[in-house]
Symmetry: C2
Subunit: 563 residues, 2 copies
């Protein structure tokens, strides 16, 4: 194939050669007036709140979700597909844009490369997006830690709420991979430093403030949600909120700019909002409601993405984000790859590059279940077979047929190698699907359903489990939350992304399994209850040889080693 | 007086009414081309590095330091005077700009108001400058904490340097007033989280990374200095550096934008660099070398400021910043106020507003010593009597006479009430002084002098002390640093700003006192040795009723309660 014959260039090399346009020109494509474009450098901008509010009576464009089959650890290319699809739609003459998550800074210094697409389907300026960008995550860190400081300050001076220092659930955060901060004892060193207690830091993307920022519909809603954060309990188990500590006003002040969507561009100079990046396990894993809603007013097609596979990302996109933000997705694209199907067909990592049609057949069950699952939400489904270097046409074609066999259109997507023109077929199919197949989106469960049943519904309907189990303490916690009036919240499932089940080793489409709920966590400000069914790491560590060892500026002041 | 008859308006009210010009227009005043202006919103910008480097063969403008007498806790208005003087010089037709420090975010939520001047002599946009601004402090926080994470990661995986966990001197940081983080135990919770050890957080402005950023002359020098940071010692007391942990490259990547000066404007639309904000006690307390040097290439007069009174701020400005950056200050303005002289004359806080000519006479000794001190550096001195509401003309005139009596020109400065036009006399005097009095700047001591003698020289010559003392452990530490090759560094004195002595209660111009050195701290990357002679708080706490309780966004989305 053509792209295999040329020397393969790295993401950073391609990104550096990008002919970026001034961000004002990108904004003009969407008819955003200059006054509403708040520049951060020449190629990044935030969009002003009053302009966004002025759009509210416009009709919405079509919302296209890009999700994926159960991924391999290397990822299946959702962002690459999203970016390529946006470029293809633009190339076909449609007014389209993408809405993506912001990547986290911390992991860039560990081993994870940047998250802004790949090959010829990237969002730029990639280094900026992966580092400080427009400061949103730093603002979230500051707001999170201001609340933490106000909690300890409250205890220090009076503790008039009677907060039990052993029952403080609010943790500090940093956008850094730092295992030393996972578990600490704070306020040591004597009277002037407060009352010693157990404490710890999460990475910023795991902060509830991140989830809140991404679900808030405006500044007022942001402040309301921040006020509802439960920071801990008193000795007699009364919930104490951030509002009781007078924190939401100052937190909102810290977050007011972070709430505005960030506009950047693809390598093909098409508009993209990159805004908000909540964890896809203990949070809902999609970009901000602010960005998605604004995009729907500005473009006829908005391509967006949800974290992990469709069992986690799409379910939460539908049941949490779309439900709460009253979004009506028009179609969903499930990204599948030859190597992921082989993986689910039992092939070891080192053999994934070898042709193996039988393994693809065996792995098909995973794709088929994801297709059936997404259809349960009433949304038309299209499969994108995202081409990786070395995938044969025959293998990719077989994946197309597997999807077709369950009544699902499918197209090979070559965004990585060819940019938008490699995604033309998929784009045409998306447009046709939107035109001919009416989406009848509905969430999986009603909010009135008790938390335990909601969890059971997701486990049975989406994961193919027989049911859920939990020890008595965890069951009691479900009841406690129901009694405290939080039973109406959606559940936010946190489990491994590597299997439909809670066992990452169970590939394909496992049946006859149970989901063991280990823990339940209230995110009262984000307005969901996190149901944890697995080991969830909220503060990563650095590897033995971290990427930071090699990252540096070269003689020209360019960044080396980041990707 | 005129301004007393009108209703007094708050800083924030005046700032909100500012008619700011687009930052590109401010840049044009200095002939900075559009391509070199990196906008952050419409009224803030960073100036591109390649443009700054292109200026290197231009002649330098005149550098004017604004310093102060020993301040009262409320401050004497150095920034107000600096901003007013810049406005006055511009109004007189000179090409002038100011170079100021960036304020810290954390204290805004405690009780300290913003730091961007006052009344009609302010720098705007003041809320932005006091909050996230262009993200410099967040970048410093990230770089500081990346090094911390790399230290613990190094110990976790191998500790091949043999770093002694008890002798790690590198602390984490946050731009937050949070006493709970002053002293912590980290890496708790078991094998996967590392080796438990004592640790703690400083506020970001106290990080050595801040001092390094402010003293670095370019990106290469930044990386070199970061590499020289001593993070701790081995069991046999060998110093371990950040370079040995491969950290300076990645830290530089995080700091590359933060190194660029930030351009903003005064209420009268005159240019100001606001860049860098190191502590004035454990660091040198001036804005960045990058900003000052660039300003000297862009303007004929550059008005800058140093923290605290002249005993600390001016001494460190001269002996650390000017020496290292080869700056040649043309003149120094010492800000004096009627109320500070009364304070030094023994008047209690509640009586400072009452006329009291005798107290002013008694307090004159403080001003006189500061004038004599600054002259010891070979720099011409001018006194600015900064008018506060309620100061009588008679009292202010008396302060002018006190200065004149020791051969020092002096003028009343009414920047707060009148902006630039209230500082015309002072501005004319500055111009005349620069034209007629040749500055023969020289640091107080040669770098070759041993650390102990350097400290003694500052204590005797500037503080009027009989000498210095220290316990044997601290004396041994001086010797250890000499032996390790750090004897050639300047000393960075950390003591109370409220007295020439180390006792904040000793007002006026105390004599016959000794300076007791309590601790010595090596800042090998910043290239100074901090000599601590007092209680220095590197992580403030929040007060009983923090400002954060009241800070919020009003119905129009404007910030209330911040100032």
């Amino acid at each position: 194939m053509e792209f295999q014959e040329q020397a393969v260039r790295s993401n950073i090399e391609i990104a550096r050669d990008a002919k970026m346009k001034p961000i004002g020109e990108i904004a003009k494509k969407l008819d955003i007036p200059d006054a509403a474009v708040i520049p951060y450098g020449h190629t990044k901008a935030k969009i002003a709140l009053d302009f966004i509010e002025s759009l509210k009576d416009r009709p919405n464009g079509k919302l296209i979700l890009v999700t994926a089959i159960t991924p391999t650890p290397a990822g299946e290319g959702k962002t690459t597909t999203t970016v390529g699809l946006n470029d293809a739609l633009n190339a076909l003459g449609y007014r389209a844009m993408a809405a993506l998550r912001e990547p986290s800074l911390g992991p860039c210094f560990g081993m994870k490369g940047g998250a802004a697409g790949g090959g010829y389907a990237q969002v730029v300026p990639m280094e900026d997006i992966n580092l400080h960008f427009t400061g949103d995550f730093h603002a979230i860190t500051a707001a999170n830690n201001l609340l933490a400081a106000m909690i300890d300050n409250h205890i220090y001076w009076s503790n008039s709420t009677g907060l039990d220092a052993r029952r403080i659930s609010w943790r500090r955060c940093l956008d850094m991979n730092d295992r030393a901060l996972r578990s600490i004892a704070s306020s040591l060193g004597g009277v002037a430093n407060g009352f010693p207690r157990e404490d710890g830091f999460d990475i910023t993307v795991a902060s509830e403030v991140m989830a809140i920022l991404c679900l808030a519909s405006d500044l007022k809603d942001l402040e309301r949600r921040l006020g509802n954060i439960v920071v801990g309990q008193t000795r007699d188990r009364r919930y104490v909120t951030a509002k009781e500590l007078n924190a939401p006003g100052a937190m909102s002040v810290l977050l007011k700019d972070a709430l505005l969507p960030n506009l950047v561009q693809t390598l093909e100079n098409n508009p993209v909002f990159v805004h908000g990046g909540p964890f896809a396990n203990i949070a809902h894993g999609c970009n901000s409601v602010m960005a998605t809603r604004a995009a729907l007013k500005l473009a006829d097609y908005v391509v967006t993405e949800a974290g992990f596979g469709a069992d986690l990302g799409a379910e939460k996109f539908f049941d949490i984000k779309c439900r709460k933000a009253k979004l009506d997705p028009a179609a969903a694209v499930i990204v599948a790859t030859v190597r992921a199907l082989k993986h689910h067909g039992g092939v070891a990592k080192e053999d994934l590059k070898k042709p193996n049609m039988q393994a693809i057949e065996r792995g098909a069950a995973n794709l088929e279940r994801h297709i059936r699952n997404v259809k349960k939400f009433g949304v038309p489904v299209i499969v994108a077979v995202n081409q990786f270097l070395g995938d044969s046409e025959e293998e990719m074609q077989r994946v197309v047929e597997i999807a077709n066999a369950v009544d699902c259109p499918a197209h090979i997507s070559r965004g990585w190698a060819q940019g938008g023109k490699g995604v033309t077929d998929l784009a045409k199919c998306v447009v046709e699907t939107c035109a001919t197949t009416k989406s009848e989106f509905k969430p999986l469960y009603p909010v009135e359903m008790p938390l335990w049943e909601k969890t059971q519904t997701v486990a049975r309907t989406i994961y193919g489990a027989n049911g859920i189990t939990a020890d008595s303490a965890t069951r009691a916690r479900f009841n406690e939350l129901e009694d405290a009036g939080f039973g109406h919240l959606p559940v936010c499932m946190a489990k491994t992304q590597y299997s439909f089940s809670t066992d990452p080793e169970k590939r394909g489409a496992p049946t006859d399994h149970m989901v063991k709920v280990r823990e339940v966590h209230l995110s009262a400000g984000a307005e969901f209850v996190v149901v944890i069914a697995g080991d969830i790491m909220t503060m990563p560590g650095l590897p033995r040889i971290p990427a930071a060892d090699k990252i540096h500026l070269n003689e020209m002041g360019q960044i080396e080693g980041l990707f």
